[in-house]
Symmetry: C2
Subunit: 476 residues, 2 copies
């Protein structure tokens, strides 16, 4: 049921009121909030997984149990980020009368919370990209109150997760308005337009994300909008790899594009194979041996049915394995002629094999792709010169490059990058997964000439928090 | 004269072709480009300063000579940033089968150049925020080709600076398309819409910047747009400071708001004084003793005349010193009632004294201000509790906070922050001055599972560039 206007107003007011205390809370305090949240969610695992399985058609084990474990791990990893302190980017330049451009005043810079964040939850990860997911975790870690617009695909789970999360946060000392769940498409738009919201994030379709991005930018005061949208996730198989590991690659590919019934933003949508690859039978067998479950929502099922139907109608398209899961194949010239239909993401359990004649044709095909979240190479180390020739075009295409691996399965770590040029995201300088995700919800502030007593603790001369800092240009 | 369509096409093609080699150039190579550029500009100082003085009406010394020194220093400081290497944010997570959320693959992340950058130059800093200014320096440092849309206020200077800059860069080994100057409002818009442009930056008015921001976001593929727009730059004088240093503060304030004929984005536009401050005569004397030169362009002069006229008409507005430079004064209630006219920036040599009754009224007045680039406190250390009460509202307002100093004069250093919530900038998570400005033109990429030989040097196991890196969560 949509959140009522008065309830939304209360939520926005509470978030605005919480922004001050949350923003000046210490990293250690916020680490305690996040740890309490992770513990509370873990304690409620059985209840939450049952709710999730009922609403999403995803299997309780290993999928949903694994996803919840990933979610609570993520909260705890951000507690580590807070303990580490480098995210503050604390920088101290002492006054320097000899600074070459002219005397330098004492100036000190760090990052602070940007303010209340509106998070639009995803359908396809009811835990990890939803109520207590990565956007929420990173915004809370930054010191921002979060208003979570629930995905209608799992409403009861969203409410219950939100209750547990909020109680745990407030119980651990966070201000009352630190977190709330709201429901309804128009309610989300109203919140996005509200001047009390300082930033927003979204995981979902290109159409939905672009519409919200446009609204965020059209505000009298535009705000940062971090949309994680569509991605075709090309996989390139070199001639050497096709010859050496054809059956293994076929099995890995089928497993990756059918995982979660193809409902991952990193699903490999295109497989580039050398002509004469001899892998068709292995591919057919692997795909026919894979299963496809019920999709997350009826709307997603309808979109997939329509998308697959359009793909089948593309001139030159062949059906390798009918399903779902469905594997299609097409030659290079027909792929190019197929335009947007073959170049844009089809969300669900299908993928397309594209056959290339030689490396020049392969590079030309890759150069014509939409950018996305990932690009993968299946190759042999003995082919390093060939692969090196592919790397520039692949790097231009994606935020994460993979070697002899599959793009589904996104680890949460310090080095993770989940983003990329549009339409992978609306903010290509950022990531929505991994510890760097916190940077989206921080803004830098400099203090010039202040006495120590008026500086934030992170910038005081004695470095009371023992932070890693850059002092007079040198990292300490 | 506007750049012809064929010439613009050549420039865009050359920039796109340069993006590959510039992007994979080493930081050491780019440091050599920037140093060569700084040397060439310094060598041409006499010629450039003469051109600038003729076109901008700004005095050759100390102003233009100082600004050119600042500009070449800035290029050299980015060479230091490149030598330092921390900007790459190199992060290595080794494979870890025991990673709590599930086995972690080897994953390594660093930042790479975003691609060709379009820079819109400012009118008011013909060197430091123009052809070879901070946006150009930081984008080149990132490895991005730059197309510079010249400001029509100093066309000959722009052409000549561009020639010297381009020759020096290419002479030092940069690719041919590394840099070009274009002219014309519509030419700039055409370039901004071109798919080969990956990011854009702007320094100028709220109206102009917002129009370009809207164009950048309306593209089929939207791009990051870094606009540095308007700022009122409030200064708060505490009762103790007014009593102890009234005359000194009056002199400093008059000097700051009339510097450069009031044509700085950090000009203090509002001075909050306690009622009964007794500083009126000192202020009048200081302002009457200051001078105002010819403004940069006729358009800017017209804007100032109209803005000042509107301010004079605001109910309750008093003229303390007529000019230009012009000092106005108003009571708190009339200031609030004055709406946008008094709350928005008036670019030029004028400023407004606002009188407050007590700290509660002061906080309410500050809470109603537009955010901006700076907020300043003139206070006494003995008033620390009072100032501490002001800090939350001031921090919410600005990207840089100053204590007993003046906001004009923006040092270029590691800790500088020149930005803030809209309308200070369209990208509040970034800065346009200081070493962190490079972050605007970089995007992160992760490499998962690659053999060492196929990794970028910055991420290889042996750390051949001796970079500061985070390895398995620990800073090294």
């Amino acid at each position: 049921m949509d959140t009522a206007p008065e309830a939304l107003e209360r939520v926005l007011t509470a978030a605005a009121e919480a922004a001050g205390p949350a923003g000046v809370s210490t990293p250690a305090e916020r680490a305690a909030w996040l740890t309490a949240a992770a513990d509370a969610l873990d304690a409620a695992a059985d209840e939450l997984i049952e709710l999730a399985a009922g609403e999403t058609h995803l299997p309780a084990k290993p999928r949903l149990a694994g996803e919840l474990a990933r979610t609570t791990f993520q909260l705890r990893l951000f507690a580590e980020v807070l303990a580490d302190g480098a995210f503050l980017d604390a920088t101290v330049d002492h006054a320097d009368p000899a600074w070459p451009m002219g005397a330098r005043p004492d100036i000190r810079r760090m990052k602070i919370a940007i303010g209340p964040v509106l998070v639009f939850a995803a359908s396809n990860f009811p835990f990890a990209f939803s109520v207590a997911g990565g956007d929420t975790a990173s915004a809370l870690a930054a010191g921002c109150p979060v208003i979570l617009k629930a995905h209608p695909g799992h409403p009861r789970l969203s409410d219950r997760t939100g209750e547990i999360l909020r109680e745990a946060l407030v119980g651990a000392g966070a201000p009352e308005g630190i977190f709330a769940v709201i429901d309804g498409v128009e309610v989300g738009v109203t919140a996005l337009k509200d001047p009390r919201i300082a930033a927003a994030s979204f995981t979902g379709s290109v159409n939905g994300g672009r519409a919200l991005f446009d609204i965020a930018n059209a505000r009298p005061v535009p705000i940062p909008f971090y949309g994680e949208l569509g991605s075709v996730n090309p996989v390139v198989v070199t001639p050497g790899a096709a010859a050496a590991r054809g059956a293994e690659i076929a099995a890995g590919y089928a497993g990756s594009f059918t995982l979660g019934t193809g409902q991952f933003c990193t699903k490999p949508g295109l497989l580039f194979l050398p002509e004469g690859h001899g892998m068709t039978e292995a591919l057919r067998g692997a795909v026919e041996g894979a299963s496809a479950g019920q999709m997350l929502t009826e709307k997603i099922q309808e979109g997939f049915t329509a998308g697959l139907s359009a793909l089948r109608d593309v001139s030159g398209m062949r059906v390798v394995a009918d399903g779902p899961p469905t594997l299609l194949a097409i030659g290079a010239a027909d792929f190019v002629a197929g335009g947007e239909t073959v170049h844009e993401e089809c969300f669900g359990p299908s993928s397309i094999v594209v056959e290339y004649a030689d490396v020049n044709e392969l590079i030309a095909l890759l150069a014509g792709l939409q950018p996305g979240l990932t690009a993968t190479v299946q190759g042999e180390e003995s082919e390093a010169p060939l692969v090196a020739a592919l790397m520039p075009v692949l790097t231009a295409l994606a935020g994460r490059l993979l070697w002899n691996d599959w793009p589904t399965g996104v680890t949460v770590s310090w080095a993770q990058q989940h983003g990329g040029p549009y339409p992978a995201t609306t903010a290509p300088t950022t990531t929505s997964v991994g510890t760097a995700a916190i940077e989206r919800f921080l803004r830098p502030v400099a203090w010039q000439g202040f006495p120590d007593v008026l500086l934030p603790a992170a910038l005081r001369e004695a470095n009371p928090w023992q932070l890693p800092r850059r002092v007079d240009g040198k990292l300490s």
